[in-house]
């Protein structure tokens, strides 16, 4: 078990990280290439970047928007994201992992990490219950929407109880589950909706660009479908 744990924390972690980076590079390429092409084709290239960037930041720290709809669950979601971003990156134990990949930055005190872990588990649990019991959210959800949340919760819960005195499960087993689930999440980031952590900054700019149509698109579509530029209404 201990050997496998070392393997999971070592080669498997490095491999998962590489898959994530390559996957995100592919996503970044597709997105930026698509956006650039759309902008090149657009008949009007004036994009209000300043306003869109402002809006993007406003939604990143959504104080202004949080209460405009489903306030309680929105606040829960924001709190969930805080721990979700900070703990994997800045927990001291995780920094040891990052160092293996040649990355290094200061960590956060264990007490803060503990608090953030608990808030993420609690808020993540609420989000899961919301997905199961709120009629609208349940209607929209498919298996993957539940699975990702369960996976994230499993990682946080296992990571949290691993070194606690009240942990009834063998330390190495808990850690194996924790690390393997963590590796799986890394792999899933570019290929699932988790990619929003990476694509979020371009969303609003991209949506705006998409409203800027190519000047001859209608005629070109007609040519492809009907063989001539103009069709009868």
């Amino acid at each position: 078990m201990e050997q496998f744990l070392e393997f999971a924390k070592g080669s498997l972690f490095a491999g998962s990280f590489v898959i994530m980076v390559l996957g995100l590079a592919r996503t970044a390429f597709i997105t930026l290439w698509g956006t650039k092409n759309a902008l090149d084709k657009a008949g009007d290239k004036n994009i209000p970047y300043k306003a869109l960037i402002k809006e993007t930041f406003e939604w990143m720290i959504p104080i202004k928007h949080i209460t405009n709809s489903r306030s309680a669950i929105s606040i829960v979601s924001v709190v969930f994201h805080i721990g979700l971003i900070i703990v994997p990156l800045f927990l001291l134990d995780h920094i040891l992992l990052w160092q293996k990949l040649g990355l290094s930055w200061p960590g956060i005190p264990a007490a803060i990490a503990n608090v953030l872990t608990i808030t993420t588990i609690v808020t993540g649990g609420i989000l899961l219950l919301n997905r199961i019991f709120h009629r609208d959210t349940r209607f929209l959800s498919s298996v993957i929407d539940y699975a990702l949340l369960v996976l994230i919760l499993a990682i946080f819960i296992n990571g949290f109880i691993a070194s606690k005195p009240f942990n009834p499960i063998p330390y190495n087993l808990v850690m194996v589950i924790h690390v393997m689930a963590g590796n799986l999440i890394l792999i899933l980031v570019p290929f699932s909706k988790l990619a929003h952590c990476f694509l979020y900054p371009i969303m609003r700019i991209a949506s705006n660009i998409a409203w800027h149509f190519p000047a001859r698109a209608g005629e070109e579509v007609n040519k492809t479908l009907y063989g001539e530029e103009n069709k009868k209404v």
């Binding site: 997105t31 949506s207 000047a215 009868k232």
Partner: protein
Amino acid sequence: MTIKEKPKNKYPYYIEAPLEYKRVDAFLKAFSAILEHSNYKFILDLYTRISMKCARCASGCQIYQTTGKPEDIPCYRSSILLRIYKRHFTLGGWMKSKLTGGSGITEKDIDEMLESYYQCTACRRCTFYCPMGIEHGMITHLGRYILAEIGIVPKALQVSVREQLEGASKNTSAIPVPALIDTLEFLEEEIEETKGIKVKFPIDVEGAEYVFFAPVSDYLLEADTLMGMACVLQTAGISWTIGTGNYDGINYGLFYSDDFLGKIVRNEIDEVRRLKGKKILIGECGHASRTAKNFVPTYNEGSEIPVVNLLELTLKLLEEGKIELDPNVITEKVTYHDPCNYVRSGWIIEQPRKIIKSFIKNFVEMTPNGKYNLCCGGGGGTVSVDEVKDFRMNAAGKKKADQLRATGADIVITPCANCKKQIEEVIEYFDLPMKRMGLHDLILKAIKLK
């Protein structure tokens, strides 16, 4: 809520010649051609990756708020087309279908889309509730465009565009030039009779600063709006003209076809060039203003032509002291309805309020208002489709009726031509104790003519 059962007809609105077989193949072929030549592919790609399914948009959608049907949640509406896109046009979707045997688009999907995309009023309010900034209104627009390419489009919209692009009158209401000139002469006489001063509607004046496009239905239905505008422009000494080559600002292309959207905008541009005008002036209409403002730069291949909305111009003239409005004429309690096509982009929100507050003492806001205002319920061209009137009133219009009633106003100012028709019907249907007017209808009463 009482919405009548769907008509026995397979289509919820009248279609001239619906394709009755191979709709699926035709849809995919049209979708593919549109993806190839337009700018939608990259955004669909992004939306399929980041749609979080949080359902926040549900509370932004007045239709869902009324019907309570989960199929009316904006995110679900969009997911129909996004699912088809993902399955048929992406590597991941193709691989998933091989692994799980998932089937592709079906006849049922097309039935669902043709209903769903015309129940959305494309008001784009839901975008303000989406943490990811997904433009569900754009998906509705695209869904309708693809459907139109396989012959599925409400006849009401199609015949209007046909008359505008192929008919002799070149406008959606089929008003011939002699009738237009008669109308304008009548309006001039009417102003002279009521205000005692001759005010001109200049026709085909070359080199005017503004070439004016109203939604052409105004010439039939909104005499006061037009008279108010003419009074403002003449009093302020503005050089403007109506062109007899093309005098219709309506552009239903925005509601179902990028092809027609472009052609109608180009016709506007051609008329401005023919008259050697400098700017486009659009009347009070919301979608006419948005199509010109947003798409003249796209389809204009020559020198720049600025687009100005009438409310922007009137406010400028008021602030420059070129027109004067009597603050003692309008005594009724007045509220103001923000058309979606004015406000979602943040373009025209404060301008009408500044004008109103300058001469109307008893003004109340409706709640919500401005950027977040509720759609009239007839947006996205649905107001022209009589077959869906029941839905327009009971689902889309009900919240509007409640919102209007809560203001306790005697008059609701409604600039947009689409909103004007819908709100008139809402007032009648729900028996609201108020009347709807254009802003320039009230300006006509209050303006001091020189």
